[in-house]
Amino acid sequence: MIREIGAIDVFYMALAMRWTLVLTLLALAGGSVIGLAVATAGASSRGWLRFGARLYVGAVQGIPLLALLFVFFFGLSVVGFSLPPLVAATVAYSVYAGAFLGEIWRGALIAVPRTQWEAGASIGLSFAEQLRHVIIPQAVRLATPPSVGFLVQLIKNTSLAAVIGFVELTREGQLTSAATFQPFWVYTIVAALYFSLCFPLTRLSRRLERTLRVAR
């Protein structure tokens, strides 16, 4: 049954955006936990920890996100773990975000000059106090613009979850398009909705870049 595209369709697509956001936030949370571990291991003085971090980042960055999704959705169900789409997507996107955020944060940690550690030590700060008061505040400033930039990528990439049947913005668009047979208008609306999420973040990232105060 083919029907006209109407306000109700736009409304449903806007509603589906909330699942895009939910998946993004879950992936961001999971990815932050993994990313923090990867960054600390990657900036560690222990060789085997650095090796482990490099291995993880290399593996994940070398696998298409779509393949990760398939592994955690279809792959695991074959061996008996049948995960609901939201759970499978959350795991896959966390693994993915963990590698990229970990790499961004590791870079930020090692970008704070060694002399900043020394300056902290020279006024009597302990290792943990140097981290807390001197290194991390600067690393966070360095990492924020690229992290926000990655967040934009993450939002757009959640559209891939449509292929495992997770109904977020893109999947809702597919359904609407099938019902109305108006793909041009439907996907234009989908694109506009993604844009309304991502563009402000991109602007924010640019603005943060201009207001950094870190040692170079």
Partner: protein, 243 residues
């Protein structure tokens, strides 16, 4: 008792010996200038005194603390030993005030209001009281270095170590920093100054130490070191820097 006592100190990086059985003692109130070519071990010696570098052999005793021993209480020692770096090393994410109050608050447990007052006093001593709320990137090199000095002063150190603190400055900014050092000298601060400013060494230092090939090669009162060098190495060094 000496405030700083180095006995037979050896520091190596791999097979390269940077400090070769160095002996040095500094009395309270003394101002010692350390001169020598780059690579002669001046900066390394200074960094061994507050434990930024570990020594391989010998003893480093500073204000009663055996710095060379593992587990030495470097935290409380460093609160009493100010260290000023060539590259200032201010914390760029903090204002001048927060740079200065960090040590007193965290290391010495001073309450925030009192710490701010200490910061104000320290900045007044270096002539920058109006820069309390400035960030490093809003200050000139000379001003940054004076804030770095104030950061040490706020902790009421017993001794100050200066590691080529004017070498990164534009020539016209050197004077304002050296003036701060002269004021501190007048106030009786014990100071070890690694420097290439021979005029400053001659004018302000009680004693000049010439380092060469990782050793204390020659030392004595400033006028003697500059007027009557006893070794060829010092004579050559002086003729290359004073012309």
């Amino acid at each position: 008792m000496s405030l700083v006592e180095l006995r037979q100190v050896v520091k190596r990086y791999g097979t390269h010996t940077v400090l070769d059985q160095v002996d040095l003692s500094v009395e309270p109130g003394e101002i010692v200038a350390i001169i020598g070519r780059s690579g002669s071990g001046k900066s390394t010696m200074l960094r061994c005194i507050n434990g930024l570098e570990r020594v391989q052999a010998g003893e480093v005793v500073v204000d009663g603390v055996a710095v060379h021993q593992p587990g030495a209480d470097l935290r409380s020692l460093r609160a009493r030993v100010g260290f000023v770096f060539q590259s200032y090393n201010l914390f760029p994410h903090l204002t001048a005030e927060k740079n200065i109050t960090l040590g007193p608050r965290i290391v010495q447990g001073v309450d925030p209001a009192r710490a701010t007052e200490l910061a104000r006093q320290a900045l007044r001593r270096v002539g920058l009281e109006e820069k309390l709320q400035s960030y490093a990137d809003e200050l000139s090199g000379g001003q940054q270095q004076r804030v770095a000095i104030a950061r040490c002063l706020a902790m009421s150190p017993k001794i100050m170590l200066f590691d080529e603190i004017t070498s990164a400055l534009d020539p016209e900014l050197v004077g304002e920093v050296l003036k701060v050092l002269e004021d501190m000298a007048r106030d009786g601060m014990t100071m070890l100054v690694v420097t290439h400013e021979m005029n400053f060494a001659r004018r302000v230092a009680d004693r000049v130490v010439f380092m060469h090939q990782g050793k204390v090669w020659e030392q004595g009162p400033a006028e003697q070191i500059f007027a009557e060098p006893r070794t060829d190495a010092l004579r050559q060094f002086l003729s290359s820097v004073l012309h």
